[in-house]
């Protein structure tokens, strides 16, 4: 169990301003290997910004983000190397429009010299099979439904063998009937032990999959608990209000 409890991501007094808008006002948190963390909160509360600061898609104004023993926002850190270890799934999938599904998945590992093309393709097919989309390898993203595109976006991240996966509202842009197929893939991933940080409005998913649920509002973590307690006995007034609206 020692390995399981190892701290993977450590966030220290993280602050982020957009001009005069203080979106994150000092976040402290530790994420351990294998944990599934779900971030919830009202829109504009900073939960997506928090997530995006973890892989420097947003550059923190101050504070520290650590992955293992490397400071992600350190001045000498090669951020590209860090990002290879952190997968990210976006609300709008962001599959590369100009490439086929296969090329979407193999582009990064091949161009970064992590895998030979053959090897990358083989792995991609294996992963595509897992999400039942191996017949779409030669299709272009535009020809696929949102649910399919998002499953492929997850596969594209997995191809890199990430140590942690960041999900930024992965089902918010989907038609309702497609939400389930994406959540199923994520649930499966969680069961396999992947470390996951998920921003979502799917409370059922949070209840079922999360180890810890964080409520973020006004740029700080207002409440943090294991899911049962978090949803059944919220202490923070804002959280009570929030849950009464979304549940």
């Amino acid at each position: 169990m020692a390995e399981e409890n190892k701290t993977l991501i450590r966030v220290v007094n993280l602050k982020k301003d957009f001009g005069s808008n203080h979106v994150l006002r000092g976040i402290n948190y530790e994420i351990h290997k294998g944990e599934k963390i779900v971030l919830v909160g009202p829109s504009g509360c900073g939960k997506s910004t928090f997530l995006r600061c973890m892989n420097m898609l947003e550059v923190p104004t101050s504070g520290e983000v650590w992955l293992d023993d490397v400071q992600v926002n350190g001045p000498k850190t090669d951020i590209n190397k860090i990002r290879q270890r952190m997968g990210m799934v976006f609300q709008h999938f962001n599959l590369f429009h100009n490439l086929t599904i296969m090329d979407n998945i193999t582009l990064a590992p091949v161009k970064l010299g992590l895998m030979k093309e053959e090897e990358a393709k083989e792995k991609a097919l294996m992963l595509l099979r897992r999400v039942n989309l191996e017949d779409k390898a030669d299709a272009y993203p535009h020809s696929l439904s949102g649910g399919m595109q998002q499953r492929i976006a997850i596969v594209r991240s997995l191809e890199m063998n990430p140590e942690v996966m960041l999900f930024d509202e992965p089902t918010s842009a989907l038609d309702p009937e497609m939400v389930g197929e994406v959540l199923d893939v994520m649930t499966e991933l969680a069961e396999e032990g992947m470390t996951m940080v998920v921003v979502t409005h799917e409370m059922a998913f949070a209840k079922k999959v999360a180890n810890r649920v964080l409520f973020i509002d006004e740029g700080i973590i207002q409440e943090e608990n294991e899911p049962e307690e978090f949803f059944a006995h919220p202490k923070n007034e804002r959280l009570q209000d929030f849950l009464s609206k979304v549940l």
Binding site: N55, L57, N80, K81, I82, R83, Q84, M86, G87, M88, F90, H92, N94, L95, F96, H97, N98, L99, T100, L107, A108, K111, L112, Y140, P141, H142, S143, A153, R156, S157, M160
Partner: protein, 229 residues
Amino acid sequence: MDSLGTQFYKAFIKSGRWQLYLKGLGSTLEVTLFAALLGLLLGTVACLFNMQRSRRGKRTVGSVIAYVYIDIIRGTPTMIQLLIMWNVILATSKNKVLVASLAFGINSGAYVAEIIRGGIQSVDAGQMEAGRSLGLSRMQTMQFVILPQAFKNCFPSLLNEVITLLKETSIAGVVGLSELTHASDQVSSATYQYLMPLLGAAALYFAVVKLLSFLFGLLEKKLRESDLR
């Protein structure tokens, strides 16, 4: 006044004058091709530098150079740029095609740079984020993801630029290059008639533009394969 038939005969057939037009057209195409390729290359490079910013959001040295290049070239007449190239920068060169290709290519590059900038900005920002989130560098993502989409987006504008370029080479006569317009001018001088030589040159320009549009159309269709839904 000669009859139209006689005019036609004098303008195109007598003394094998049609060959003048074809030779002129050859030079026009040669200069256009070299200039278009140079323009595309220069334009892409200038565009990437022009858009470059330091970590603090300031222009880099390369960015300033690219910006000044685009600014000056777009702000001065092509004719003057051509004359400067011919009489000053390459005053020792007698190769008119080279001089014209360079002058028009450098000129075109400034416009292409802005066309491509528009193309890049029309690509969804999420594409760059996705590339970066996988560990690809900014340049790698540009090369494999953004630029291919940007080129496709600005294809109609690039065709426009090539067409403009083709017709703009008609001023290369001022440095003595026997391109198409210059050829028709020579025939006019020899026959004292303008209608037929000018119509002939115009028809040839028009035919080339139609052909270019057709070829670009085919290419665009090929590029749009990934858009099929």
